[in-house]
Amino acid sequence: MSVAMNHADQPQDSQAFINLSDVCKSYDGRDYVVYDLNLTINKGEFVSLLGPSGSGKTTTLMMLAGFETPSQGEIRMGGKRLDDLPPYNRDIGMVFQNYALFPHMTIAENVGFALSVRKVGREQIKTRVKQALDMVELSHVANRRPSQLSGGQQQRVALARALVFEPSLVLMDEPLGALDKRLREQMQYEIMRLHRELGLTTVYVTHDQSEALTMSDRVAVFFDGRIQQIAPAHELYESPHNAFVANFVGENNGLDGRITEIDHATATLTLSNGTKIRGGVSQNLRQDTPGMLFLRPEQVRIADGDLNLGNRVQGLVEDIVYCGDHHRVHLRLSESDRLLCKLPNSREHCLPIAGSTVNVTWRIDDCKVLSPLLASHQSTSSPC
């Protein structure tokens, strides 16, 4: 798989605040956890590191925080080399996965800890702790212990604690992983609000793609120790650079076939049963090599009558799953090829009947032909 780091995606801004260049990390000198990482983050930017577990995103974060040292390469912040600075001198605030609030201190003491080790005066600590707790709307719990707070409250205290000393960079390591769905969404907005209001520079690690897509200015998709693509959310979703990103971010109909024809804008993918599908061209495509289709399930429409948007195939309706706001229609195109189609749950769309044969259609611009994925990298799809 190619390193799909497109330098055109990176703001070539001289004001780049954080700069990781050619960073590698290996624990045994053979296997690299992070390989040849180049990442630039601007001041005030919210960048998410998204990837499955073991993809190197947390290691990258730990190198930024100073708890891991890069084996090669260098990390700069504001033009200053960070590598030689110990964690306590880096001026980086961090929110940990399970909050890591000190259980023997009150909430106020927890938040004030960073100030007290910086020998800030007692009165000033008091006012700044108050401000920080006001910011997360938790001043009323200042004298309680962390164990007396709910998960969401602890999370907000952890935020206040990481922000109270006005760090130049904030790192968050899957901070919402332990919360339930509702609370998680609420906290996402809270974090986005703080990021905006305080003008923070934030690096956010998550394995939850919806979290990354909603919150970030840019998302870096990690896999196998490398950044597969770094781009704003819409670009990542609509125009993935490679098969991994296509399958990992959102859902994808990753049909396999051979690339039989390439002209300057479109490529033709021929499936095993001879069906030809035309789609946009991505990088590194060569004729007569295996290819993979990128097609979002929501782009596929049931073809009423002779409707043809550019691609039209016939399939057997195997199953229809009700998912509240939409139906998922599982189609079988051939022995080996399955196509998933998401139909919005509205009166305009009449549902096909399971067991019947239907025609589906989609636009040529809405799909893309990519270099295929290695066998082990298949995305797992849920029933909904």
Binding site: G66, P86, Y88, M94, F96, A100, F113, V117, A162
Partner: protein, 422 residues
């Protein structure tokens, strides 16, 4: 967060009050049955504890106030003596009763026990009682007072009668007073023994002092080891843990004897030191306080290590990272974030070691010198050699009280209640 949990008492869907009350009753009945079953399961253990632990200790503690020997053997005289006001000499009735009781007790073979009991008050009493009984049996006079006075002139001494009166009182505070080097003098007030005769107060303070030293030494040595155990990779941690546990499994006597061999004037350590030219003469390491402290610290160390380790194991290393990310240097982070979280373990370890040290017996007996007797050695002497079980009980009672006081203090300081092992 106020979550409402439907409880059986609440009876969420109860249609009326009567139904509610019935339901509550049924719920309580089931609860009662459950707790009865649970108690039944615990019954063998409770019974075992009662028979082997609570009852013997209770009896021993009771002995510290019981005084049955004299009233049992000399019933009439004891009864009459309790009404004697100690101002004048006892009257003829008391003399007569005493003479009769003495003869009776001698015939029934009870006199030996009385003699031994009286010996604790005054060493002269023993011979006086035995001699008088012997002479009285041969005397056929009717005037028993004269006979008693004739057998020994000391029967004319008021002090003898006063002591006999005290010995006839049960329950008595005398053992408890003796255990802190005090007694009731002629005037009936509590007096202390002169310092040169006082034994037990010094032994108590020595015991507390040695226990405190051992506790602090153990803490100093155990804390780093526990930290290492909690932070090493699992494999190495297990190996190190074995090193901690193996001495724990070894017989106490073996370990003490090993120290005895190591610490002798011509033992391993002294030979090594003089061989290296560090000392010209062997340092006295055994039969003194040093020996006691070394031996006891070694034996107590595993308790301290395990208590602290059990708490440290539960502390996530992420706290130290969090502290560092907030700007604390590693040492500051350790002291302000790590150490406070280990206090429960430190408290439990200190309490365990301290309390075990309070009652320590073999090690100080083997490795200590004349000035290192701890209170349990004195209790043992009273129990096994002097057969003064009353005094042994009184000394034990104080030890139990000390332990309770220290438990209270430690609990207040670090909250042992909050500790969980494993």
């Amino acid at each position: 967060m106020n979550e409402t949990i439907p409880t059986p008492e609440g009876g969420l869907a109860a249609p009326d009050a009567l139904n509610d009350a019935e339901r509550l009753q049924a719920y309580r009945r089931v609860k009662r049955q459950e707790s009865r079953k649970a108690l039944l399961l615990a019954a063998p253990l409770l019974l075992f504890l009662l028979i082997t632990f609570i009852a013997p200790i209770g009896t021993l503690l009771l002995r510290s106030v019981q005084n049955p020997e004299v009233p049992l053997a000399l019933p009439e005289a004891t009864k009459l003596l309790q009404h004697w006001d100690e101002a004048a000499m006892p009257d003829a009735d008391i003399y007569a009763a005493m003479a009769q009781d003495l003869v009776q007790a001698s015939k029934q073979g009870k006199l030996g026990r009385v003699a031994r009991r009286m010996n604790f008050y005054n060493p002269a009493m023993r011979s006086l009682l035995l001699k008088t009984a012997r002479k009285l049996k041969r005397d056929s006079r009717d005037d028993l007072q004269a006979a008693l006075l004739a057998s020994d002139s000391r029967w004319g001494d008021k002090e003898i009668w006063r002591v006999l009166k005290r010995a006839g009182q049960s329950p008595t505070p005398d053992y408890l007073l003796n255990a802190v080097d005090s007694y009731v003098d002629k005037t009936g007030s509590v007096a202390s023994l002169p310092p040169e005769e006082s034994v037990y107060l010094a032994a108590f303070s020595r015991t507390i002092w040695i226990s405190t030293s051992v506790t602090l030494l153990c803490l100093l040595l155990a804390y780093p080891v526990a930290w290492l155990l909690a932070n090493l990779p699992a494999r190495q941690g297990r190996k190190l843990m074995l090193l901690v546990i193996i001495p724990f499994w070894t017989s106490l006597l073996v370990r003490t004897t090993a120290w005895y061999v190591l610490l002798q004037p011509n033992g391993v350590i002294n030979s090594l030191l003089s061989g290296l030219g560090l000392v010209s003469q062997p340092i006295p390491l055994v039969f003194n306080r040093t020996g006691v402290l070394i031996g006891m610290t070694h034996i107590m160390l595993p308790f301290m290590i395990l208590a602290i380790y059990s708490v440290m194991k539960g502390i996530s290393p992420v706290y130290l990272r969090a502290a560092q990310s907030l700007g604390a240097k590693p040492l500051t982070a350790f002291i302000r974030v790590y150490v406070p979280q280990t206090l429960a373990g430190v408290g439990a370890g200190c309490f365990l070691v301290f309390v075990l040290s309070l009652g320590y017996y073999i090690t100080p007996a083997l490795l200590g010198g004349a000035g290192d007797e701890m209170i349990s050695q004195l209790i043992s002497i009273q129990t096994n050699q002097q057969l003064n079980w009353g005094l042994a009980g009184a000394l034990s009672a104080y030890l139990v009280i000390f332990t309770a006081i220290f438990y209270f203090i430690f609990n207040r300081l670090v909250g042992i209640d909050r500790l969980r092992f494993g």
